[in-house]
Amino acid sequence: MRKITIDPVTRLEGHGKIEIFLNDAGKVANTYFQVPELRGFEKFSEGRPAEDMPQITQRICGVCPEAHHMASTKALDELFHVDPPSPAKKLRELLYSAFYVTDHTTHFYILGGPDFVMGPDAPVAERNILGVIGKVGLELGGAVINARMQNHKIIQMVGGRAVHPVFGLPGGVSKALNEEERKEIEQIARDSVEFAKLSLKVFDDIVLQNKEYVDMIVSDAFTHRTYYMGLVDENNKVNFYDGKVRVVDPEGKEFAKYAPREYLKHVAEHVEPWSYMKFPYLKNVGWKGFADGKDSGVFRVAPLARLNAADGMATPLAQEAYEKMYSTLGGKPVHHTLAMHWARLIELLYAAERLLELSQDPEITSPDIRTIPTAVPDEGVGIVEAPRGTLIHHYVTDERGVIKKANLIVATVNNAAAINMSVKKAAMALIKPGKEITEGLLNRIEMAWRPYDPCFACATHNLPGSSPLPIEIYDSKGKLIKKFPAG
Amino acid sequence: MKDKIRIGVYICHCGTNIAGTVDVKEVAKFIQGLPSVVIAKDYMYMCSDPGQNMIKEDIKQFGLNRVVVASCSPMLHEHTFRQAVQDAGLNPYLFEMANIREHCSWITEDPKLATEKAKALVSAAVRRIYYQEPLEVREVPVTPSVLVVGGGIAGIQASLEIANAGHKVYLVEREPSIGGHMAQFDKTFPTLDCASCIFTPLLSAVGQNPNIELMTYSEVEEVSGYIGNFKAKIRKRARHVDEDKCNGCLVCVEKCPWKAVSEFDEGLTERKAIYTPFAQAVPNVPVIDTEHCVYFSKGTCRACEKFCDPKAIDFKQQDKEVEVEVGAIIVATGYDAFDPSAITDYGYGRYGNVITALQFERMCNASGPTGGNIVLKDGSEPKSIAIIHCVGSRDKNYHEYCSRVCCMYSLKYSHLIKEKIEDAEVYQFYIDMRCFGKGYEEFYERLSNEGVNFIRGKVGEVTDRTITEEEQGKLVVVAEDSLMSTMIRVPADMVILSTALEARSDAEAVARLFNISRSADGFFLERHPKLDPVATTTEGTFVVGCAQGPKDIPDAVAQASAAAARVLAMISQGKVEIEAAIAVIDEELCSGCKICNLLCPYSAITSDEEKKVSLINEALCKGCGVCVAACPSAAIAGKHFTTEQIMAEIEGVLV
């Protein structure tokens, strides 16, 4: 039995590993996606005043702290039975939209993009952002950097800090927006819309015009027929900040639609002894192991899942792009994991459009940003769509609002089972007995999980350098026989 | 980089006091092994000359730069040994004492445990002294002038003593004249000499003394600064009579048509709207009571102005604020008499012939409202008079303390009554007779033979509800005679309430003004009840007379003289030492958060808005360390009790 260890991979909470076991025949026997770290937020949240949670829980992830900050703050609204003034809600969504622009940009251009732009077989040294810039031109490269910096500036302006914002309070936000700030944000929003449109064009030119890529996208190696989950507004349009959770089955039929408060009726988490990360599944279907199909409770989240679970986008340009994707890929739902990249760009456009709408909203500079809670706090659930999927914060407090119980289901965790399956499926399809395992081949395996953008695949990935996947191949005696890249 | 620490440690046997329980040899052996300890010795009596000399020689011979003595309490000998190391050229703050007698050998039975504890205490001192630093004992000059607040007997006595020694005194009195309560008295116990005979000369002496700047009808409004260098703001209220022009003829008083109740006569009579409180007032310059002067209410009259030859009347006169600089402050603000209407059972205010002690004093006074005659409301002469002791004193409901003078003045009253109305019956209702002073017991003896009735017992009530024939038309004093343990009813024409002395109603504000503390009974707190009875916790500020607690005239005078002596000593020194172990702020670390500013009981901390830091006035700081413990930035260091030193001590004591 041979063992391929891909280590380190992830950093949901620290690093991650993918173990690929080959049998003596050289076939893939099994793969394991392991998350070897735990920090225990659900325990040490106990005893903390509830209002501290938005700032405490965002330390789960410094890549998407805004997502935790939002989910937590919304949980507090419910916990304290308080409805924030509409300007406050809009400020929250405004910050959140800016955050989406930065995060999706990062992923497409710095992480996912290179695989397509440069091609999976391109030399490691080129398959990164610099390679991308080299190919698509410095101008776009500059636009990428600019989009990230500018939108981080919005986060700083509205949230108080660029990383780990502080403005979320039960019943509103701590800081109002003034007119100069609004103007600046509006301009950034306009630029972001243009940037998003350009990005979709890049995707069209480089990926969709390239048959080899399209074939790869729709190939079985990168396809899973699973349930999909995402937040939708009252018109069943994709929404990142608020709404109900909608689940569709592999046929695309609505399987469930529920308010955050009901999540426990629908989601459960399975524990494996070989990972610190739990594996969520649909309670009403049940845990059937790492399998897809209608009978397995495994579901998927993140961009493609959100689009699959919704009936469309709430902004015009994004809606166009949405329709184009489904018509191109043969209708809903789309099960091709690699289409996640496309979906992400559509969401990028939506986020930018939404940002612009909000920046022009007459209410956005209103000083009316706080409602002081008066009711006795008890229990609250807050759900938002993190870039990497549905994010659930659930708190129970005593009558003074001190946390007695906290339950957190973090975005990437929802995809844990699917990632595991995708890696296995790709590995099985690609690793053939006798066939030499090339770096490009392993990168294709990598491409099976990268679309999920599990939290480790964040802005800190892939600076000039290469694959974040060190791969070592051992023979059945555990002797190292090959290692990628050589050196 | 400080030079290498070389510590010498000396374990005292104190005869057998320590060595009897603690194995001093073992302690010395143990200590010798500690880092930086150059030498550890044990010796019979460290405080003896040979003991001290041993330290001095070792300092030279072994080049010691730190010395620890383990012996008795630092309260006894810290000073002795500091002196010794200083003689040998070491800074006194490079000495530390471990108390292995009071805190160890004397309170521990088991010699083993005592020895262990002694080791711990000494090693704590050794660990601590490693971080101790030399400190400068600082001196500040003393302004040779004094502020005396309150012109009663105590304030007057203090003022005269200091003025007679040739130093400037600012004597501030709230009333229009100095004199205080003593000026109201008729005779003084136990000698029965006439109060005004002995007091009036003092009043005029004050008025005439060139060194005393008298400010009557004035109040201290603000005090700043510190020992040797106080600044005081004094408000001189407008008299509406020009002190320089007024010749004291008092025609104005005569002509004034408007009247008000006389405070000085305790409401027994009236005074004019322009008035001096009493005949011998100093200064003999009237004031216009604007509340009762019709000119001030209606704008007409001006009678006084009309008749004033020197044109001294000045309706437009305004309050004046003067600032004085003084080296020391003596607080002699006196007492209030307890208001007996609080005790409704005694009927004060309900029955016209129930009067207070002070009212009776005035009544007896030849220059008083009744020309010295004891009379009832209806003008007739009382035949029976009851005197009730401890009214408001020794009473959980009012004041628990004994007012100390009531027994004696009550006896005095019996005598005065017998003097003026021979056949009068006098009843003294007392709890205990307290005649502690010189000649007091004898006075009591004497009165017992003058046919005064002493009834031991607390009075329940004074009532006009009569039962028997003889009670008719009289007040009845109902009391329990605790000697015969029967309830008795005593008919009396007049009842005198021997009211308590209590702290001034504004004592709290005054305490804050002068930054002194008060004891539970509300009077000002002396620094030490026995060894430092006139000083306060604020250096350079003293408290004398009844402001510090109830006392009789001799005690008040003695205190006044004592305080004067303390002040004169300061002035003749010309400078005073101030605490060296104080707090200092490191401006490099202070963020100006202002946490500390209000914490200082001596208002030593201010903040510099420019530099955004807080500052400590070294002269005001006494080194309590409250601000040090509060500073969130550890920007304040408490010299000689630094965090480093105490942390080391904690580690050391836990060996």
């Binding site: 950093r11 620290g14 026997a29 099994n30 070897p36 770290e37 735990l38 920090r39 225990g40 937020f41 325990k43 040490f44 005893g47 005043p49 330390r59 789960i60 992830c61 410094g62 507090l76 950097i145 108080g160 502080v166 403005f167 309070l169 039960p170 019943g171 701590s174 800081k175 989601v267 459960a268 988490e269 399975h270 070989w274 610190y276 739990k278 002081i372 809670p373 119980k405 289901i409 964040c458 802005a459 800190t460 990935h461 600076l463 350098g465 290469s466 974040p468 | 670390l589 202070c590 963020s591 958060c593 202002k594 946490i595 209000l598 955004k612 413990a629 969130p632 930035s633 550890a634 920007a635």
Partner: protein, 319 residues
């Protein structure tokens, strides 16, 4: 001159420190000019083995973020110490344990029970817990050992410098990197920040003397603009927290939570805030004092939000 060799590593952390490192933006290129990044698992493909193979002290400087929560992190911290000339604790978690350090209020079993059994959504009837080594049909899988307590980097290895913050502000990061690049590092042990003073020195809010009569929670009041938040009864810890951050939180009307750690020379951040706060409670009546104190709902979580493992008592005493 030869390029510097720099290593980056994260342990128990959230990734915010990496984002913060990216926040220096174009200055990254200056860094890239001056230094080769020889290890950055999150960014480049160098495996632990490769680092192990490096000669001792061959790395000029290692920026280490995250606390020590498990055996793998401790192992790598020790390895990197051997390989690096200069070891820099980057961010609150490496410096003082950070927010994950609040786990020291509990022990491993309590944390596992909550995470893998009690959590409302968890379905784990046969009480499965993650194992450090587990036999699957195809072979053996390993997980690092989850320790009973969170430790700071200084409690694990010798640390030369500290860059405070959760995460460090851009300017703080650059202050350190610039010093590194220019070879102008301060004396060993220095906490690198623009200020040795408390945040109040950075904060523009007006402050007067402090008197606390009631403690408020941030959602209970809308603070008066321009006025010190602590004076308004909010538990703003700026007074006890190192400055240099520029006080962004108070500018957003939110109290400082202390992420830059204690002020220069302070041993224990929590007790210093505690003492200062308690000292200005405006009452001498024990009962009223108790009433006011009782409004501090979570002293440990508030005063040691980022520093429990680094406090004098490194956590709760759990028998």
């Amino acid at each position: 001159m030869a390029k510097l060799k720099v290593a980056f590593y994260w342990a128990a952390s959230c990734g915010g420190c990496e984002i913060a490192q990216l926040q220096i933006g174009d200055k990254l290129l200056k860094l890239a000019e001056a230094a080769d990044i020889v290890f950055w698992p999150v960014a480049i493909d160098v495996k632990y083995k490769d680092v192990e193979a490096m000669p001792d002290k061959s790395i000029d400087a290692c920026l280490f973020n995250g606390a020590i929560r498990n055996s793998e992190q401790e192992h790598i911290a020790k390895m990197l110490r051997e390989k690096s000339n200069v070891m820099i604790a980057y961010g609150a978690c490496a410096y003082e344990g950070g927010i994950p350090g609040l786990a020291n209020l509990f022990n491993r079993q309590m944390i596992f029970d909550r995470a893998y059994i009690e959590t409302e959504s968890t379905d784990n009837k046969d009480k499965t817990f993650p194992q450090t080594s587990y036999q699957v049909p195809e072979g053996e899988l390993h997980l690092p050992e989850f320790y009973n307590t969170v430790k700071t980097l200084r409690q694990t290895i010798d640390v030369d410098y500290i860059i405070p913050g959760c995460p460090p502000e851009e300017k703080t990061t650059w202050l350190a990197l610039e010093a590194l690049i220019e070879g102008k590092l301060p004396p060993k042990g220095t906490v690198i920040s623009h200020s040795a003073k408390a945040v109040c020195d950075d904060c523009d809010l007006k402050r007067d003397v402090k008197k606390i009569t009631k403690i408020y929670r941030p959602f209970e009041i809308i603070p008066e603009p321009e006025i010190c938040l602590l004076e308004q009864g909010l538990l703003c810890q700026g007074i006890a927290t190192r400055g240099g951050c520029g006080a962004p939180c108070t500018q957003a009307n939110m109290p400082c939570t202390g992420c830059y750690g204690p002020v220069e020379g302070v041993i224990d951040q929590g007790t210093h805030f505690l003492s200062a706060l308690a000292s200005v409670i405006d009452s001498n009546d024990p009962e009223e004092i108790q009433r006011i104190v009782d409004d501090v709902l979570d002293p440990v979580g508030t005063f040691y939000r980022y520093s429990l493992p680094d406090s004098l008592l490194r956590g709760a005493s759990i028998k």
